[in-house]
């Protein structure tokens, strides 16, 4: 892993990977939209509202996946002092917050016609709202100190403590009575969902993941540049002080 600790090496890797993840994102989401909106049937109970699933469920997956990425990066930063891990965690947080927000809003837009309510304070919905606040807290904390390393350290501890929420979200539909339906894709005995609906769901899921990788690399690159700018400014200030 320390092979990628070197920012110059990371920048070279990112320059190679990004065109492919960006291209894959466009193709996968275009295909996902076609199968989701045009080539898949309406649900026999839910009618066309089932199409909300193709943006709601992948964004929920991403909310959890991005947070897990952030927690792993934070652990790596705290334990091994990996110089890029803090930048990865900081760069991931706004993307995860965006996906979680999409999940909450599309969930409300699906809940109103199907459950008769925009919102309910039940286990799945509330734990997802907490995830959103954890992201916001991370984003605020990481910039709350004059010394970026102190901010990164505080934010890493928040990310790790908040990770307890991830399994709670995943299993909330099994542990508590909730309006939200239980898992139907990742479950024992295979997915309980028709292939015509599973296809757009997975296409969007993979497309959202490649989108995340692309935007994450853009943001990490910007963070590396910010660190360089800070270093140059610092030497300038020192140079003036001595001279």
């Amino acid at each position: 892993m320390h092979r990628f600790a070197n920012p110059a090496r990371f920048l070279r890797l990112a320059a190679v990977v990004m065109p492919w993840t960006a291209g894959a994102t466009v193709l996968l989401i275009a295909a996902g939209l076609f199968f989701g909106l045009v080539a898949s049937p309406a649900d026999y109970q839910q009618g066309d509202t089932v199409r909300i699933m193709y943006v709601h469920v992948p964004s929920a997956w991403m909310g959890l996946f991005v947070y897990t990425t952030m927690a792993v990066a934070s652990a790596t930063a705290l334990i091994w002092k990996h110089p890029l891990a803090d930048l990865v965690a900081k760069s991931a947080a706004p993307i995860g917050a965006g996906f979680t927000l999409v999940c909450l809003v599309t969930g409300a837009l699906w809940g109103k016609p199907m459950w008769g309510t925009w919102w309910a304070w039940d286990a799945r919905l509330t734990s997802m709202l907490i995830l959103f606040f954890l992201y916001l807290g991370h984003m605020a904390l990481v910039d709350a100190f004059d010394d970026p390393t102190r901010g990164a350290r505080a934010a890493a501890i928040l990310a790790l403590a908040g990770f307890v929420n991830v399994p709670i979200i995943k299993f909330s539909v099994d542990w508590w009575n909730t309006l939200h339906q239980p898992a139907s894709v990742v479950k024992m005995g295979g997915p309980a969902i028709d292939p015509s609906m599973l296809a757009p769901l997975l296409l969007m899921g993979v497309g959202f993941t490649t989108f995340f990788v692309t935007v994450l690399f853009l943001r990490v690159r910007a963070e590396i540049l910010a660190a360089k700018i800070r270093a140059i400014r610092l030497t300038q200030v020192r140079g003036q002080g001595v001279g």
Binding site: N6, P7, A8, R9, L11, R12, A14, A15, M18, L37, V38, A42, G47, D48, T49, R51, I52, V55, H56, S59, P94, I95, G98, F99, L101, V102, V105, T106, L109, W110, K112, P113, F211, T214, V215, L218, R219, R221, A222, L225, A226, K228, I229, I232, R233, T235, Q236
Partner: protein
């Protein structure tokens, strides 16, 4: 075609869901790209103002990666 946009009477829920998704993902991409471009410009100005760079041999490799990313 009209029936496609009606979404079986649920147009008011389905289309806003897709619109919110597109707006949030689009905003993330645009904001990230804009920050990156601004930092690249800022770094260029700083490096031009101070041509003799007391940096080790890392700098040319990083410079190449940035140049490749610009294309």
């Amino acid at each position: 075609m009209a029936s496609f946009f009606e979404m079986g009477g649920y147009a008011g829920y389905v289309w806003p869901a897709y619109a919110v998704t597109a707006v949030v993902m689009g905003a993330l991409l645009v904001a990230s790209l804009r920050t990156l471009r601004n930092r690249e410009a800022e770094l260029r100005v700083l490096q031009q103002a101070r041509p003799e760079r007391p940096r080790r041999r890392q700098t040319p490799a990083a410079g190449n990666a940035e140049a490749a990313g610009d294309a």
